[in-house]
Subunit: 212 residues, 2 copies
Amino acid sequence: MKADSTTEDKIKEAAKQVFIAKGFSGCTSREISKAAGMNVALVNYYFRSKSALFKIIFEAAMGDFLLSMMEVFNTTLPLEDKLKNYLDREYEFLAKYPEIPSFIINEMGRKDGVHIDNTSVFKCIEHTGIFKECLVEQAAGRMRKIDITSITLLMMSNCQFPFMGSAVLQQVHGLSAEQYQKQLVEHKQIVTEMLIGYLFPKSDTTSQITKK
Amino acid sequence: MKADSTTEDKIKEAAKQVFIAKGFSGCTSREISKAAGMNVALVNYYFRSKSALFKIIFEAAMGDFLLSMMEVFNTTLPLEDKLKNYLDREYEFLAKYPEIPSFIINEMGRKDGVHIDNTSVFKCIEHTGIFKECLVEQAAGRMRKIDITSITLLMMSNCQFPFMGSAVLQQVHGLSAEQYQKQLVEHKQIVTEMLIGYLFPKSDTTSQITKK
DNA sequence: CCTTGTTTTAAACGCTTGTTTAAAATTGCT
DNA sequence: AGCAATTTTAAACAAGCGTTTAAAACAAGG
C-alpha cells in the first residue's frame, strides 16, 4: 500500500536536508516546501506546524546517531575491540552525515530549543552496559582509571569535532574539502592509536603502542 | 573623552551576548536593542545594518579566540611546554566563553554566512612559526611524525568539544552544570597527559607518562 | 534665547514569516 | 458516471522582520 515515495515522505526528506543544514531558525517553511517541490500549506497539512516537523526530524537524526553506537555496544566483543569498532563506525557514519553532531549539539544547547524526552533517549546508552563494562575493566587493572564522563568525552571529542570543525580546519591549513576528507582517514588511525594506547596502557611490554 | 559606557558600546555588548548565544538568524534586531535598553533604530543608526553589526561582533570574537593562542605560541618556550601552556590557556578561556567555538564554527559553516577575510585572520597562526617548529621537532625525532593538520585537530578537538557538547554530555551522564564543570577540570589534566604522552613519546625510559 | 548639529524616539515602510481558509483537483468506490 | 473523501492549490491572514523616516529631545556656543 506504500507508494515508492509519498508526499509525506518527500516533505520529511526535504525537511531533513534543510533543517540539518541550516537549523530550525535558519530556514523557512516555504524553503522546505520548495525543496520538496510542493505547496507551503502541505507542510502544515501533514505535520501540524514547523515546530512539530522539526521535532520529528530532530528525533530521527538523534535516533540514527545513537543506532550505530548501540549496534557496536550491544556486541559481546571485549571492551577494547568494542571501542575500536565504535571509532570505525563513528567515522564511517560521520563521513556520510557530517552535519548531524552540530545539528544535535546546537539545538540541544538552545534554551528555546526542542525539548525531547532525554531520559528515554539517553538511557539506551546506559542500557547497553558499556559504562559498567568500563568500571569492570578498570577494577581489573586492564583499563586506565579515569572518570566515565572523561572516557565519553575523549571518544566523542575525537570523533565528532573533526567533522564539526571541518570548515575552520580547512581554512587554517589551506586545504580543499577533498584534501581534508583524505586527512580524516589518516586521522582516524591516529585517534584510534592514541585513545586505545591511553585507555589500555601496556606498561610491562616494550610495545606500548599497537598498530591497527 | 571616552565616557564610561557610550551608547555605541552598550549596543555592541548586548549584541555580543545575544549573537553568541543565539546566532545570527536566531535573534532579531529588536531583541538586541531591548537587551541594550534602547530603541531599535539606534542599532541601524550606529551600525548600518544587522549584518554589519554581526560582522563586527563575529570578527571580535574570532580575534579574542586567536589572541590567547598567539600569546602562547609567540613565546620562546620549548614546543612541549608551549602545547601544555596552550591547553591551560584554552581551557581557561573556554571556561569563560564556552559558546564561542560553536559560534565561530556554526557561522563559518553556513553557506550564506559572513565572509571574513580568512587569509589574514588565519595567517597569523602560521606566522607564529608553530607549525614549522613541529616539523623541526619531528625531524629531530623528539615528536611523533604525524601530519600537522592532525596535530591541530587533536589539540582543538580535545579543548573545544568538551565545551561545545556540554549539554549533551550532561544529559548522557545525568550531571548538573556544576558537576560537569568540575569534571572538566579533571578532564583537562587527562587530555594534557594523553596528548603530550602521545605527541612526545618517551620510548627508552619506563616513565612513559609525565604527570603535570 | 535662538540656532546648529547630534542623539534618541515613535511610527511607519515594505516584505517575509508561520499558519489558515476555502476552493479546486484528485482519488477511490459503487 | 457520480458521489464522498482525500489531497493539493492559490490566496489571504495577522504578526514579526529589518530598515527608514521624520519629528522630538538634547547639547553647546554665540
